[in-house]
Each structure stands twice: as C-alpha cells, then as structure tokens.
Amino acid sequence: MPVLPASGAAMTALLSAAGITLRHGQNAVLENVSLEITAGEIVTIVGPNGSGKSSLLRVLIGALTPQAGTVTRKAGLKIGYVPQKLHIDPTMPMTVRRFLDLPKRVDTDAAMQALMTAGVPETANRQMTQLSGGQFQRVLLARALLGKPDVLMLDEATQGLDQPGSAQFYRQIEEVRRDLGCAILMVSHELHVVMSASDRVICLNGHVCCEGTPDVVSAAPAYRELFGTGTGGALALYRHEHDHHHHHEDAQ
C-alpha cells in the first residue's frame, strides 16, 4: 500500500496528534490515529460518513478528550475553526459585525477586511440568522481569519452549497493560504473538489487508511475500496496547477 510517511521530522509540526483513540460508550470512533500539520500546507481528511472526521477535528481543537493519545500544539498556536454547523438560537440577536468580535474585539477596518477576504463585505450590518447558507459559511470563515490563525480548520465547510459554490469556496481557501500563509486542515466528503486543492490527503475510516498526495491517495487500494474508482476521473477533471511546492518538500 503506497503510504507516504507523514511530514519529515525536520519540519516543525504546528500541531500533531499521536495514537488518538476515542470511544463513545462501547463504540470506537477513532483508533490509534496519528497526524501532523506543518506550516502552510493544505491537508484534507476524507472518509465516509461516521468515519470520525469531525470527531478528530474536535479532538484537535480540544473540544473532545480522547481516551488515549496526545495532541501536541506548538506553543501559542492559534487555531481558526469553522464548524460544520453553527446554530444561532433565534432568541439571540447577533449582527455579523458583532459576531466577528467573538472571542476578541477587533477594529472595524480589520473586520471589513476579513469580510472582504471571505467575499461577503455587504453583510456587516445584517443579522446572522438572515444570511444565506453560503454567506453564513463565509462569515464563519471571516471570523476564523480575524484571529490570524496558524492553522485554519474547516469541518465540511461547504455543506449546503451547490457544486460551483463550493468549488469557489475552496478556491478562496487557497487564496487565504497564499495571502496569510496559514496551514489549512479540512474535513470533507466532496472528494473531487477538495482533493484537487490539497497538498496532502488523509483517508480516514476510524483509523488512517492511507495518506499522501492526492494522486497517491486516489490510486491507493484502501482509498478505492472506500470510495470506488469513479472519483479518479473526477479528480483529473478538477485538477489544476499549484504554484507552490509544499508536497515536494514534505514527501520524500
């Protein structure tokens, strides 16, 4: 099975998880999962429903405590988190501008800049509950960017967007990485769109099935067993040139 080693030890990891095992009652959700994220790379976790993708992300941000294993963060690591869903109770009034002030107040210029980067400058004075699905996700992205994160984590960030919408969203993510230089860890089930935008893909199904560049993973037997061969063609279709060289440095 063509499994690339995780990023070389020489690269300093921003965030690493070692031997994570997480159980909900009797069910093992994650089994001995290890991964590492180094500065500036885009890593995508793919896997079928119930494969523990979201749980893994929640372990990494500290919302879930695993039964075994450790999460190591670089000192002072700032995480920007875009959750899968954010339900704002209708009893809570919340303008977009005020939302961007959580958890820290930001000045209005910075807030407008973040909305611009996320592509929704017109929403500043709207109520969060009045936004469309796409606008909402972009506001979540803008908020995550305001913390100047070292790692941006997106959990199924394009849920509810149509395919052109999510393709556009991921292009924006690449721009964010280019402009801010932060590492990006995404969880997604939209294989073709996501994989073409990633430096490294981790295929998860309770454990790490395989890991490597998109080409390597999509050719891996374990991946094909999970997702079939059909997505190989889709990957080629959406493939576009990267103007950077992270995966060449990372892989050996």
Binding site: G62, Y81, P83, D89, M92, P103
Partner: protein, 265 residues
C-alpha cells in the same frame, strides 16, 4: 430614606430585577428555563433548612440552590436528555421543601412569603445582601461576558479559542443560584424564573446585539419592579406577582409593537 419600608422594598426589587434581567438573557439563549425552575424550586427546601437550623434565609436558600445547580450541572455534562430528570428534581425539591416547612416544630410559617415573596418586609440588612449579590452577579457577567457569549453561541468555537465551555456553563450555574438566593424575598420561589425570562424575552424584539438585549432586559426588569411595587401598593395586591404581571404586560406590548413594525405600520 432607608427607614421607609417602601423605599427599601423598591431598592430590593430593583437590584434583583436588574441582575435577573441580564442573567436571564443567558437563560433564554441557552434554553435553561427549566434549569432555572429546578434551582428556584429547591429554594423552598432551603427556607425549611434555614428555619430548622436557625440560619439566615439567604444562607439556607443559597446553599440548597447551589447544591441543586451543581447537581444539575453534573447531570447535563453526561450528554443525556435531562428534561425528565430536571422535572423530577424540580418538583421533588419543591414538594420536599413544602413538607419540611410544616414539620418544623413550634412554628407557624407564612409559606406564601417564600413562595410569592414578601418584599415589603425587607430590612436594611436584606437590602444590603440583595445589592451585594446583584452586584456580584453583574460583576462576574461583565468580566466573563465575551467568554460566556462565545461558549453560549457554540461550545466548539469556544474550545478552539481556548475558552473552556464547561467552565463558563458552571459560572452561569453558580450565578443562577446566587440570583435565586437574593430573589426569594422579593418574588418568591415560584416566580423567580419569570423575572429571569420575561424581561429578556420582551427585550429580544428590540435588540440587534446581545449587549442591547441585556441592557434592555435590565431596564425592563427595573421598570417592572418599580411600577409593579407601586401598583401593588395601590391595589393592595401581592408585590411579587404584581411585578411579574407588569413584566408580562410589557412583554405583550413589546411583542405587539414588533409585530406591527414587521407588517409595516
């Protein structure tokens, strides 16, 4: 002025209503109404204990409300539906309290005073304790405002920002117990939740941010307290329920105004 019982009653009602108004926003946002009920109902048991052991009412109620609040906090941490268990605890505590009060030897107790409040009899000391408690609640809310708000919005978002959402939940729980303790003499165990929820609910339609809602809820609480007291004295009705009636009236008017505005009148 503090010699005037009306002035003392007004001050006591004002302090409780404002603190409850602000804290009540979190109760509404987090859907903790039943949680508030259970904590408040436990207060009757606290009254019984205070009378039995000769403690101050505030101490007895505070202790039992705190115990109840922490108990519920522990149960909600396990991720199971707590609706039923809250119902059991809430009414179990209320019934136990009612029975316990009648078992206290050698005393005939005016139970109504603890169920519906008796603000006209508050002493200077009571007023001092009520304002101390209200100031403590407001101060903690002020200091933790952003963390509480983030944790209320989404626990994972809070975790990712280094805020422990469970800790913030515990803080709200303790504040709730504190409000119950200071509110028992003003509105009584049965109507404390009303003072938490109604001003916040009335403020919702007029607020664009959480801060506006909290400020407005405190103001509406204050208006309800002062005018409720006046109306009660005028009509010779019980003060606690009258305050809640005024608050409910404000809610009704507010809801009407919002409805009319939304259809463009």
């Amino acid at each position: 002025m503090l010699d005037d019982f009306m002035f003392r009653a007004g001050l006591a009602a004002l302090g409780v209503a404002m603190a409850a108004g602000v804290l009540g926003c979190f109760v509404v946002w987090r859907r903790m109404a039943y949680f508030g009920d259970a904590t408040a109902h436990a207060a009757v048991l606290g009254v019984a204990m205070a009378l039995m052991f000769g403690w101050s009412i505030f101490a007895g109620v505070g202790l039992v409300a705190l115990t109840m609040a922490v108990l519920i906090y522990g149960l909600t941490g396990r991720g199971q539906s707590v609706d039923t268990i809250l119902g059991v605890l809430s009414h179990g505590a209320l019934a136990t309290g009612l029975v316990a009060v009648t078992l206290i030897p050698g005393q005939r107790i005016d139970l109504d005073a603890y169920l519906f409040g008796d603000v006209l009899t508050v002493t200077r000391m009571d007023v001092a304790i009520i304002w101390g408690g209200a100031a403590l609640v407001m101060g903690v809310l002020w200091a933790h405002w952003t963390a509480l708000l983030t944790a209320t919005l989404n626990p994972d978002l809070a975790s990712a920002s280094g805020i422990n959402p469970r800790r913030e939940h515990l803080i709200l729980t303790l504040l709730l117990a504190a409000v119950v303790a200071v509110a028992i003499k003003v509105v009584g165990a049965l109507l404390i939740t009303a003072l938490l929820i109604i001003p916040a609910a009335a403020a919702r339609g007029f607020a664009r941010t959480p801060e506006q809602m909290a400020g407005l809820a405190a103001a509406l609480g204050a208006i309800s307290a002062v005018s409720g007291l006046r109306v009660a004295v005028m009509l010779d009705t019980p003060v606690g329920p009258t305050i809640v009636c005024v608050a409910a009236g404000l809610f009704g008017v507010g809801t009407g105004v919002v409805k009319l505005r939304s259809v463009g009148v």
